[in-house]
Symmetry: C2
Subunit: 478 residues, 2 copies
């Protein structure tokens, strides 16, 4: 097999150099590279579904060690070849999209080291390790990473860090930035950055934070160490339904203010409640579910106090099957293309804001997106709570008319949601990241000065703009 | 009054420009500028005490608004004048030291805005606001910032952020990076960065983290917003004493592993226990004190469980006066010069590491520093616990012989402590920061690649190196 087949002469030299360095780990045949061209972004799936093929990369490289990643990056730097890093491809904002003059660096073979340190409650994994496998590995030792994104079975631990992910247990256990202990990353110049393994340091800016959420633009994360928890001996589940979505928000606000910390706190608006809990909850109600966990006695203490808070706001205790139902289905990931075939276009949009803005944000975004002619449903739940506010996770469903341009409707939905959220002062990206779908909104999120700051850092670390161009920042911002 | 008196012609133009812009807020008389020349670094106090006067700045400017800070920075940028930002001056690592060709930008008049938002549990303060005044203000509303550094009465809220500070309640409430909600900072180019007010965002790297711990080298923090807590309705205090310091460490490790979170967890080695708790604890024992706080019922639940853990390791419950004693004296800040007069040289050095390294770190640093001839005591306590480890806070006391060079002995102590901690794989700076005293060790802390990364960011944001030169990084690193 000649890895250089099907390629323009101009790309020959970088492929030769990569093959010399990595041998079989350089994949060039289109049938090999095709699965690595994109992530789970709806817009990419629309393109593919309607027959606009996505670009194939020059090659997919599959390094197995940090040192190999450094070699790949050095070679790409030398030849000016863009490097699109891809984890497990479960991202939903277009953070991975191949380009013909670039390579895709897939982390899926970066699965060593893998070690668990019970005394220090730490676990180290190669960045490509599957999230669920990592969690199951630590669970065998009575421990937990405590990070449960819906995509846990189809995402990688490095991807969690690169996208600044949140898990379903975040209200108590924090988001990935609160769970990450240390990391190893290859910088655009090919050098290897390894953060010190210390529980905490006041030693200048926290440099790990440059890579948390960098989405492949500032470094290739090759190894992560998480700070673990022991599995909770105590657990309780309960759910309530409220007359109004706002009553549920107020219940969560009071619970956070009272310093309770249930790992799972999820409030569904009436339409989502109906969609998910029709068997146990009357129509028109908003369902709020809780998982309580902690050391002995704590879950009972917390669940009793929270039950009182909910009752004070008119919350009605539901059958426990409501919570069980959620637990059983919480890692189901939908397939967009199946929905296209049914004539439906669906996407999710998450934002966050302060308590005082939440109700207005909910109404404002629902109204703005619902005004788009083909949109048949715009609903939301809140799934990550903080002392100062919470997120809202919207699901838009459109039924485009025969022959309609799905991409155009898709863009309209995002534009309406982002414009409404921005005008209401909300944060524009809670945990899916920026990718390509939000990049024109990054200026609003960071402010003019923040955008310039980020661009200055990007220019300093990656002056040629080779790391994941077009993601996070507009290519022109460089 | 002519603010230009006593100054070389070369500095005339920048002072004229500053005075034109800020008028009376530009102080140039030596008796005006003298109090702003330094922070609370022992080495600066030694210099002053033995009659080696510290350099006076060209001027001290005392802006009252972010916009004024931006004007000052723009002028200094234009004239190539170094800007040394000073909060309340309670830093102990030499982060503030005036230079004759630079100005000191004092934040002490940056005391607006000051607002409390009870619904969203947020409080916004001008960076120069005194820490205790800020805490008392929110306490009037039944809330707390939850950040209690020993220096709370003599530090500023902006200084907390700029130095990446820790408070005594950090084990439950986190360090300042966990409490900070948003900030405003003036960048070296004079632009104003204002982070978005959202509870959480996956929108690229967290840019606030560039300023947390930047110690005046990357921006001037002018305004901070903290995420508050309600005051805990439930509180309990208890203390135990153990046969060995290591037993106390093991108790804390088990408590953290069991997922309890007392705000205050402080373990003193036998000498410090004797120094602080002689009335209530027998000689040779290690005292471990706890403050438990939380919603109703939680403090009792936690204190009972922790009492069992301590008893299992041979911990003996002490009289409650031990904890009360600590509470009464916890914000006493020593005066170095008084100690010099008594023939004593004292400093504190804090580091952190994983549980498996802690005992060795304690022994290694005590041994290394005790080997210095004039050192008469090297002791430690642990005051900030994490799931994966804890800090150690050492206090070195030397009795230099008649005529000895205090600075030389001071440097020996730091060198011995840092060398030992580094060789034992510990993090070299838990919460006092880097300043000047640790800057030669920053390479070890961050690694070669981390240092280069930080230098690249510094060069990108402050290409002339005007913001607090010589702090954090060696001046030559630019």
């Amino acid at each position: 097999m000649n890895p250089m087949a099907n390629h323009r002469p101009s790309s020959m030299s970088v492929l030769t150099a990569l093959s010399d360095a990595l041998g079989e780990a350089v994949l060039c045949e289109p049938q090999q590279t095709e699965p690595f061209r994109r992530d789970y972004w709806v817009r990419s799936e629309i393109d593919e579904w309607r027959g606009s093929p996505l670009p194939n990369p020059m090659a997919v490289v599959t390094p197995t060690t940090t040192q190999q990643v450094a070699s790949v990056v050095q070679i790409c730097q030398e030849f000016g070849t863009p490097v699109i890093t891809r984890g497990a491809g479960s991202g939903v904002v277009g953070g991975v999209l191949a380009q013909e003059d670039g390579i895709v660096l897939s982390t899926h073979k970066l699965i060593t080291p893998s070690s668990i340190d019970k005394k220090n409650l730490l676990a180290t994994f190669g960045a490509g390790t599957n999230g669920l496998e990592a969690e199951e590995l630590v669970q065998d030792h009575g421990l937990t990473i405590g990070h449960w994104p819906q995509s846990i079975g189809v995402s990688s631990v490095g991807g969690w860090v690169a996208t600044r992910a949140s898990g379903q247990f975040s209200t108590a256990y924090g988001n990935i930035e609160d769970i990450l202990y240390s990391l190893v990353a290859v910088l655009p110049d090919g050098s290897i950055y390894r953060s010190r393994e210390t529980p905490r340091a006041a030693a200048g800016p926290d440099l790990r934070q440059l890579f948390l959420g960098s989405e492949g633009t500032l470094g290739v994360i090759t190894e992560v160490t998480f700070s673990l928890r022991t599995q909770a001996p105590d657990q309780a589940k309960q759910a309530f339904h409220f007359d109004r979505f706002d009553d549920g928000l107020e219940a969560i606000r009071r619970i956070m203010a009272a310093r309770w910390l249930p790992p799972v706190v999820r409030l569904y608006d009436p339409r989502e409640s109906r969609r998910n809990f029709a068997e146990s909850v009357p129509k028109g109600r908003s369902v709020l579910i809780f998982l309580h966990e902690g050391p002995p006695g704590s879950a009972q203490l917390e669940s009793a106090a929270i039950a009182t808070t909910c009752a004070n706001l008119g919350g009605v205790l539901t059958e426990s099957t409501a919570v069980e139902h959620w637990f059983e289905h919480r890692n189901t990931v939908p397939t967009w293309t199946e929905l296209f075939e049914q004539g439906l276009l669906v996407d999710t949009i998450e934002v966050a804001t302060k308590w005082s803005n939440l109700s207005g944000l909910y109404r404002g975004v629902v109204e703005a997106v619902s005004a788009i002619p083909s949109v048949i449903s715009m609903t939301a739940h809140s799934s990550h709570a903080y002392r100062s506010g919470a997120n809202l996770y919207f699901t838009a469903v459109a039924a485009p008319p025969e022959g309609a341009d799905y991409t155009e409707i898709y863009d309209q939905i995002w534009d309406a949601a982002m414009t409404a959220a921005d005008s209401l002062g909300a944060g524009l990206a809670h945990h899916h990241g920026i990718g390509r779908v939000r990049r024109t909104w990054l200026n609003s999120e960071l402010g003019e000065s923040g955008s310039q700051l980020l661009s200055a850092i990007k220019a300093a670390l990656d002056p040629k703009g080779l790391f994941n161009p077009g993601v996070l920042m507009e290519p022109t911002q460089l």
